[in-house]
């Protein structure tokens, strides 16, 4: 892409992340549906990517040389749509139709109806294989475009991911970045109490990836790690982003019930006040 963009300052990025969180909670409240906790845990990651890292252009969402962002955790559609609106891919007014009858904004993203969505996700374990494909395509083209794929941590219990993890290393995909939203909670319980993933860094390293672990709700840390990819030549890069599910709203943080609980009017009010502070 030829667009040269100045990177916003940290204050602006933090403010954007919280604005995305506020809008995200509003549309979940209005829809009466949503995946609140996993939206909020990923908000800083999406903000860093869309406002400081990805070479994408909302005026040309299909530009062949764009970076690819693939959100494998399709259930976090609230944060994806809200970020796409903030970045100019879709009008903000469309967010009011989140999951409304006939809306383009399904509970899980549909690339045929939402500009900026690369592939339809929802069933878990689908994004990373597709990301391996977009990364191989870039290699075939000898292009410098990159693929960033965001997976939930619980999602890594799906075997298809490990097929893709093997293939990415075998094909030396140093243009591929896996971000694991490591909030340690899945729908019903903690990941480690359900089907444990630890030691996740050692597992990914043993599969041939270069791995870094950061605070995934810390925007400077996210920028630093994304600026450092690829971490090693000829290896795919994995970022274990340690996050807090429900991040930013005190009564939602690290609470398993907020996986898909919808805030009441009173809860929304409290949440918006906390996120405006």
């Amino acid at each position: 892409m030829t667009t040269v963009r100045t990177r916003p300052g940290l204050g602006e990025l933090r403010s954007t992340a919280n604005a995305i969180r506020r809008r995200n909670l509003e549309i979940i409240h209005a829809a009466g549906l949503g995946h609140t906790g996993g939206d909020l845990s990923a908000a800083d990651i999406l903000t860093a990517l869309y406002f400081a890292v990805l070479e994408v252009d909302p005026a040309q969402p299909d530009a062949p040389e764009r970076d690819r962002y693939i959100q494998s955790k399709g259930h976090a559609s609230g944060v994806l749509y809200t970020t796409l609106a903030a970045a100019g891919f879709i009008p903000d007014s469309l967010l009011d139709a989140y999951m409304a009858p006939g809306s383009a904004l399904n509970g899980h993203p549909d690339r045929k109806r939402v500009p900026g969505v690369e592939t339809n996700t929802g069933p878990l374990g689908h994004g990373l294989p597709v990301a391996v494909g977009t990364a191989i395509a870039a290699k075939l083209d000898r292009s410098r475009r990159r693929t960033f794929v965001l997976c939930g941590d619980g999602e890594l219990q799906e075997g298809s991911n490990w097929e893709a993890i093997m293939a990415a290393a075998h094909h030396g995909l140093d243009n591929l970045v896996l971000i694991v939203d490591r909030n340690r909670l899945q729908q019903g319980a903690r990941t480690e109490d359900t089907n444990g993933l630890d030691p996740l860094d050692a597992k990914l390293a043993a599969f041939g990836w270069s791995v870094r672990e950061i605070d995934g709700n810390d925007i400077p840390a996210l920028l630093e790690v994304f600026d450092a990819v690829p971490f090693s030549a000829a290896r795919p890069s994995a970022v274990i982003a340690n996050t807090i599910k429900g991040r930013g709203v005190s009564f939602m943080e690290d609470r398993v019930e907020w996986h898909h609980k919808v805030p009441t009017a009173e809860e929304l009010d409290r949440a918006l006040r906390e996120l405006s502070a």
Partner: protein, 315 residues
């Protein structure tokens, strides 16, 4: 007996030819270079043969990603594993996402014979026909296989193509042009219609000759496109011949026969027989033996048609 051909040969030859003039074309396999006969493709275009090992879910997802990057991937694997193992990827990553991926199900039906039901792909037509926005094509001979591969490369959108290893005679002439969604009338007749796809088309033609000796003239339709179905051809067959027999190298539950029955029962009810593997796991035997066992032969097809026409005389 006329000469018989393995359709995989036409598949690989056509793919190599297309790849020469279109660098977007890539082949994606699951360790199935040999069984897909893609060794020649790999020699000609080593960078464009992507072998992902024995991992079908990843293979289909990678196909979607390659299509996202502007490539035209032909994702080729043994039909039972390509469809059964990666069914959700086919639904979500290809059909629902409208990814320009060409799935090539090798050695479908009971082609793997003695290897048993784990390796038979008799459910694929039912599974894939149920998925929206996915075209399902079953070529009948090498001429049609080449036509379908060329059509698939030139036509955006996801498609599943069965590529048979079981040798079949040529049923189309050199001038044949495949048209997606259109039945090809290979024989005219007014007494009964035989609707077949894939390896069963030549057998349906042979059955028509058997019937002709009994004074019954059968229309034979090659219904290569199982989804979307040529509904008009089915309705015309029901109206004009008043009896329909379908025959496929697949389970009788949910495939070509079911597709035709959905049209016949709702548009123009007439007596029907649905021939195929009768909803069972096949016993041990070669592919040819199994087709005999299940009476998927000229005589078996003719017998079913005779039943229908005899019933009609009695009623």
């Amino acid at each position: 007996m006329s000469e018989r051909f393995d359709c995989r040969e036409a598949f690989q030859r056509t793919l190599v030819e297309l790849a020469a003039s279109d660098e977007r074309i890539v082949a994606v396999v699951n360790d199935s270079v040999g069984s897909s006969k893609l060794g020649g493709f790999g020699k000609a275009y080593p960078d464009r043969l992507i072998n992902l090992g024995i991992a079908e879910q990843n293979m289909v997802g990678v196909g979607a990603g390659l299509a996202n990057g502007g490539r035209i991937p032909f994702v080729s694997a043994a039909a039972p594993f390509l469809t059964g193992r990666a069914l959700e990827q086919i639904k979500a990553d290809l059909a629902y996402s409208n990814a320009n991926v060409k799935l090539c199900g090798q050695s479908p039906g009971v082609a793997y014979g003695e290897l048993g039901p784990t390796h038979h792909s008799i459910e694929d037509l039912a599974w894939l026909r149920a998925i929206a926005d996915l075209t399902v094509v079953v070529p009948a001979d090498p001429i049609e296989t080449e036509q379908v591969i060329r059509w698939a490369a030139a036509t955006p959108g996801p498609v599943f193509i069965r590529v048979s290893r079981m040798p079949v005679p040529i049923v189309h002439d050199d001038g044949y042009r495949f048209a997606a969604g259109a039945a090809a009338t290979l024989r005219e007749g007014g007494d009964v219609t035989l609707i077949a796809c894939g390896t069963m088309v030549s057998r349906a033609l042979d059955a028509a000759n058997v019937l002709s000796r009994r004074g019954i003239e059968a229309r034979v339709l090659n219904m290569a496109t199982v989804q979307p179905l040529d509904r008009a051809a089915v309705v015309a067959a029901a109206v004009e011949t008043r009896a329909v027999v379908t025959v496929e190298e697949a389970t009788v539950r949910g495939g070509l026969g079911a597709a035709v029955a959905e049209v016949v029962t709702q548009e123009r009810p007439v007596p029907m027989r649905i021939l195929g593997i009768p909803g069972v796991f096949a016993p041990t035997g070669s592919a040819e033996w199994l087709l005999e066992h299940f009476r998927l032969t000229a005589d078996g097809i003719a017998a079913a048609a005779l039943e229908l026409t005899t019933e009609r005389v009695r009623s």
